[in-house]
Assembly symmetry: C2
């Protein structure tokens, strides 16, 4: 019985990059006889335009039924001014994460040797960089209740959100991170603000409790402000970093940018059973949408993660990653990673080159 993959192109450059990633997925599907059934659905701004809501029921149902989801990106200025907060493209993405309980977000920040010069950091600071940020994705301040804007005495408006985690939520993301560290270099840094925020005092306590079960993994703690500094100062000190939803959003983007190639970085968002949504770390880049300038490699590498984590096709995943490395060795570059002496290619040329390399 073949598995079921749902493709959600989304907004901005989403459709372009997903088109290329789909070419790769279809080739792998044929070659490895995976028997995948691949469907597409609307999410984000595209869904708002077509149906009035960012996460139509049909899309949510298809997502629940799928074994894995490939997402392009959502959002854009066109929908940013909607005064109704529920009708924003981001709500489609957040809705899928939350409804499918995709709490374990894996965001690798890897420096490709072929792109070493692309980083704004000095080569000695980032060469060989390979860190994994594990971000909790379905809790924390992103989803905490109560939230909103209310009027106080005197008609003064006040906005409020709630940063909340219970011990079970912390424990399950902690386990994902400890397991990941165990499979890598056995060092886990938990990032919190336990000198100020009570919710992260509990976070730290649960991480300490868990560490008893993982004596082979070295656990450390760092305040989030210091972590932001250390990522700039000496990023190679990290192996796996685990943190909550909001801090993870900020730190994973900073970490990704250290590599100078955010167009190269995939991500996975997994539930308890290994089912997952896969998406590039970058956004929908509306400014370059439709121009063939977007880098499809992060999305193609997201397909590789999908093959490995949700489709049980580790060998195919290795092949996709090797093909990406090969096109870099062939000096093919989209504008975001272009440098002197390299060959400029468009989004679809890059996708075709990966297919050819496969």
């Amino acid at each position: 019985m073949g598995k079921n993959v749902l493709v959600l192109p989304g907004d901005g450059i989403g459709p372009e990059i997903v088109t290329e990633a789909r070419k790769v997925l279809e080739l792998v599907n044929d070659r490895h006889g995976l028997g995948l059934e691949i469907n597409e659905a609307l999410v984000g701004g595209a869904a708002i335009d077509a149906t009035g809501v960012p996460l139509p029921d049909a899309t949510l149902a298809a997502a629940k039924a799928a074994d894995a989801i490939l997402l392009g990106a959502v959002g854009g200025p066109k929908w940013d001014t909607n005064p109704d907060f529920a009708i924003r493209p981001e709500k489609g993405l957040l809705g899928i994460r939350s409804q499918l309980e995709l709490f374990g977000n894996l965001r690798p920040a890897i420096l490709y040797p072929q792109l070493a010069h692309a980083s704004t950091l000095k080569p000695e600071v980032v060469s060989g960089l390979d860190i994994l940020i594990v971000r909790e994705l379905t809790g924390g301040i992103y989803f905490g209740q109560p939230r909103g804007v209310r009027e106080k005495d005197g008609g003064i408006r006040e906005g409020f959100n709630t940063y909340v985690y219970d011990e079970n939520e912390i424990r399950r993301i902690g386990r994902v991170a400890f397991e990941a560290a165990r499979a890598r270099n056995k060092r886990l840094c938990s990032v919190d603000k336990a000198n100020v925020l009570e919710v992260t005092v509990l976070w730290r306590e649960i991480m300490e409790e868990l560490s008893v079960e993982y004596p082979d993994v070295e656990l450390s703690h760092m305040y989030v402000d210091n972590a932001a500094m250390q990522l700039v100062r000496a990023p190679k000190q990290f192996d796996v970093v685990v943190t909550g939803n909001m801090f993870g959003d900020i730190l994973s983007d900073a970490a990704a940018m250290l590599t100078g190639s955010i167009g190269m970085l995939p991500s996975a968002s997994l539930d308890e059973s290994g089912k997952g949504m896969y998406e590039p770390c970058h956004g929908s880049a509306p400014d370059i949408a439709g121009q063939g300038k977007a880098n499809p490699l992060a999305t193609i590498l997201s397909v590789a993660m999908m093959l490995r984590y949700s489709l049980g096709a580790g060998e195919a995943a290795d092949q996709v990653e090797a093909a990406v490395s090969k096109v870099l060795d062939q000096n093919l570059r989209t504008p975001d990673i272009m440098s002197e002496g390299m060959r400029a290619v468009s989004t679809s040329e890059m996708g075709d080159a990966v297919v050819a390399a496969l």
Copy 2:
């Protein structure tokens, strides 16, 4: 009538760096006939050890009575394990900020040309860097109620904090930032997470409202995750950045580290009337405390900010800043900014050199 300065050495390297800064302040006091009265009090871990609490009543009263406060740094592992959250060194610092309503935190991130090589970023990315982060300091999730750890059904513990701002709080920090931008390069970037957090939707709205009063300042908005990326990618795109307490904590540390010389960066925390607390951007560095390795220049530059903003002695402030530049030109370096061919000096040698340069 002379003004009143309260000195709070605090913990770790705090006493050492404050000793040097005090030398500078006393010299300036004599030379410019400022007639300052300078007193000292306990805060943080030092206060916990002596009195049982991080902010003794006597310290709070002295702080309220002072025209300006000079703080070293607070905190250290010795007090981190205290299960009573109210008895932590940080609570002393947070208590002063809050009780004195020091809501306007100015954190410049400046690259000293003499230390250009110290940054981990490539010279072309950071040379000439001069940005100002304006952080709201007495509201947001740092102080929001309710907060704590409670038990849910089934005895599951849950930690929670509240991220809250009302329009008046947003407006007053907005004005500080617009004024600062007006006095600089007239560009203000407000950082929020308005695609996810309602409290920052209000934040963005108030910033937009305010911008009508400052037509000469160009206002832009950026999501916090993108801001963390842009600080790494192209930090010189910023002039003034304004954001809330938590995001400001994270981004200002990242920005400071871009300069490679966090030991060089001062900060000011001001109330409505210009009264303020001045402190280095770095922490208490307990690992090097008492060894004469700490860089006193950030604290000395904090004295310069104090002279300018709270003591009406702008000329004296200029002289202190020029003296700091001079010791750098003399190739004197504490360990944190040491490089080949420079002369290594201790904390007190550096302080003495600034005094001599004055």
